[in-house]
Structure formats: structure tokens, C-alpha cells
């Protein structure tokens, strides 16, 4: 397996994705959880780019572009939510938001 074949990129993408997942599960600071989600999205972007290159198709690039855009919109809204939660209670710990318990 040549190091720069598709498989290599894809494995890197898989590892980055996994790191992002673990980050979402483990960290309690919502900002860091968000960053982990961005990490996941970027790992997927890398996969798309890899396939665009190795399958010689522009569709991969388009998808990356769209993911990028949507991630931007998502970050905007998500951070606005976090900020407004922080305004309501002075401490941001995701585990405090458990009113759906039971």
C-alpha cells in the first residue's frame, strides 16, 4: 500500500473521526464538544476530497463545499445557543442540562 494511496487518507480520516466522537462523549464543556463535532465534520471532508481525487470527479469537491457552508451556519447558531444558555445560568456544564431526566 503506497503511503499516499486512497487507503492512507481514508484511515487518517477514520482516526480523526473517532477522535472527534470520543471528544463529544467525554468532554463536558459544550464549547469543546462543539469543537469535537467540527473535527468530525472535517474528517468527513477529508474523505470526500480523497474520493474526489481518486475517482476523478468534481462531485467530491462540491460536497466539501456544501459541508463547509452548513458547518458555518451550524456553528453560528450553536454558539448563539450556548451563549444564551450561559446568560441564564452562570456555568456551562453539559451535565447540568438534565431537565429531560426521567
Amino acid at each position: 500500500m503506497p503511503p499516499d494511496s486512497a487507503t492512507g487518507y481514508l484511515i487518517v480520516s477514520a482516526i480523526l473521526f473517532t477522535i472527534g466522537v470520543v471528544g463529544v462523549l467525554v468532554r463536558r464543556n459544550p464549547l469543546i464538544m462543539f469543537m469535537s463535532i467540527e473535527l468530525m465534520l472535517n474528517a468527513v471532508n477529508l474523505s470526500f476530497m480523497t474520493f474526489a481525487h481518486y475517482l476523478d470527479s468534481v462531485d467530491g469537491w462540491i460536497f466539501v463545499f456544501l459541508v463547509l457552508t452548513v458547518a458555518a451556519a451550524e456553528v453560528v447558531v450553536g454558539l448563539a445557543i450556548i451563549v444564551s444558555i450561559f446568560r441564564a445560568r452562570r456555568d456551562i456544564n453539559i451535565d447540568e442540562l438534565d431537565s429531560l431526566k426521567g
Binding site: M1, P2, P3, D4, T7, G8, Y9, L10, I11, A14, I15, L16, F17, T18, I19, V21, V22, L25, V26, R27, N29, L31, I32, M35, E38, L39, N42, L46, M49, T50, A52, Y54, L55, D56, S57, V58, D59, W61, I62, L66, L68, T69, V70, A71, A72, A73, V75, V76, V77, L79, A80, I82, V83, S84, F86, R87, D91, I92, N93, D95
Partner: protein, 180 residues
């Protein structure tokens, strides 16, 4: 194995992106996490370069690291840079262990699949339509533009609506609620 500059670059970038990814999730300080993420995004941009996508590499740097991460840093520094009181005792004791274990399984499973499969040559785009020929002829920006506006016009328009919605949402959420 033939060691070329590409190979070296790939390995170096791989290590950098993985390490910075780990940094994102492991730093206690949220600012350090954000900075790690910036590094990670940057190394991904370099990956894109390696994959012969100049336009998107630049777009990644500009938009992701340039705009989105700056926004993140704003919020992080405003809200809880040190995050001292947050990461106390985890109320779900087995979460870390379970997450780590499942993460290993996930990565392992994906790797297993990837290592045991090959790219199907029939899935390659036909030569007339191929990306590499377009890039060679027109350059990456134009290739990208033609792909976007010829095949994906509708998603493009919808995405712009989405951005408007996001802006309005951010405006609404950002308002002080103490009006009435």
C-alpha cells in the same frame, strides 16, 4: 517502497493532524483546544493541497480557520477560558472507559474495512468528465465553478437560504431576553 516527497509530506501531515486532534479533546484549557483545532484544520488544508485541490485548500483556510475558528475563540474567551470548575468528577463514571473502548472499536472496524477493500476502477468518472482533465484545462477554480453551477445549482441556492436563516437565528438568540 518508493519514498517520495509526497510520501514524506503525507506522513508528516498525518502525524500532525492526529496529534492536534488529540490535543483538541485532551486539553483542559478551552483556548488551547481551540488552537489545536486551528492547527488541525490547517493540516487538513495541506492535505487538500496534496490532493490537488488548490481552491478548496484556500477556502478551508479562509473560511474554516479564518472565520469559524475566530468566532469560536471569541466565544471561548468570553465564556470560560479556564474552565476550572467544570471538569470535576464525571457523574457517569463509566463514560470515559466506554467511550475509549468504543472509539477503539470504531477506528479498528473502519480500518479493517478500508484495508481489506480496494477502490473500484469502474467508479471513476469517464475521461471526458474527469476532474484532472478539467483542472488541467481550466484550473481548479473554474473546474469547481463549472461543477457547482452546472450540476448543483439548486443545492447552492438552498444553501444560501440556509445561511440567511442562520443569521436571523443568531440575531434572535443573541438578543437580551430581558425585554418584557
Amino acid at each position: 517502497m518508493h519514498i517520495t516527497a509526497t510520501t514524506v509530506a503525507f506522513v508528516a501531515l498525518a502525524i500532525m493532524s492526529v496529534l492536534s486532534g488529540l490535543g483538541v479533546i485532551l486539553f483542559r484549557n478551552a483556548v488551547y483546544s481551540a488552537l489545536s483545532l486551528i492547527l488541525n484544520l490547517f493540516s487538513l488544508a495541506l492535505f487538500f493541497l496534496l490532493l490537488n485541490a488548490l481552491f478548496l485548500a484556500v477556502v478551508q483556510v479562509l473560511i474554516y480557520t479564518g472565520a469559524i475558528m475566530v468566532l469560536f475563540l471569541f466565544v471561548v474567551t468570553m465564556l470560560a477560558p479556564d474552565a476550572q470548575g467544570i471538569e470535576q468528577r464525571d457523574p457517569i463514571r463509566w463514560q470515559i472507559g466506554a467511550a475509549a473502548g468504543l472509539g477503539v472499536i470504531l477506528a479498528g472496524g473502519l480500518s479493517y474495512i478500508l484495508l481489506n477493500s480496494t477502490l473500484d476502477p469502474a467508479a471513476k468518472a469517464p475521461a471526458s468528465d474527469s476532474l484532472s482533465s478539467m483542472v488541467d484545462k481550466f484550473g481548479s477554480i473554474q473546474a469547481f465553478g463549472m461543477g457547482l453551477f452546472h450540476g448543483f445549482l439548486f443545492p447552492f441556492e438552498v444553501t444560501s437560504v440556509l445561511l440567511v436563516v442562520a443569521i436571523i437565528g443568531a440575531l434572535v438568540l443573541g438578543r437580551r431576553a430581558s425585554r418584557d
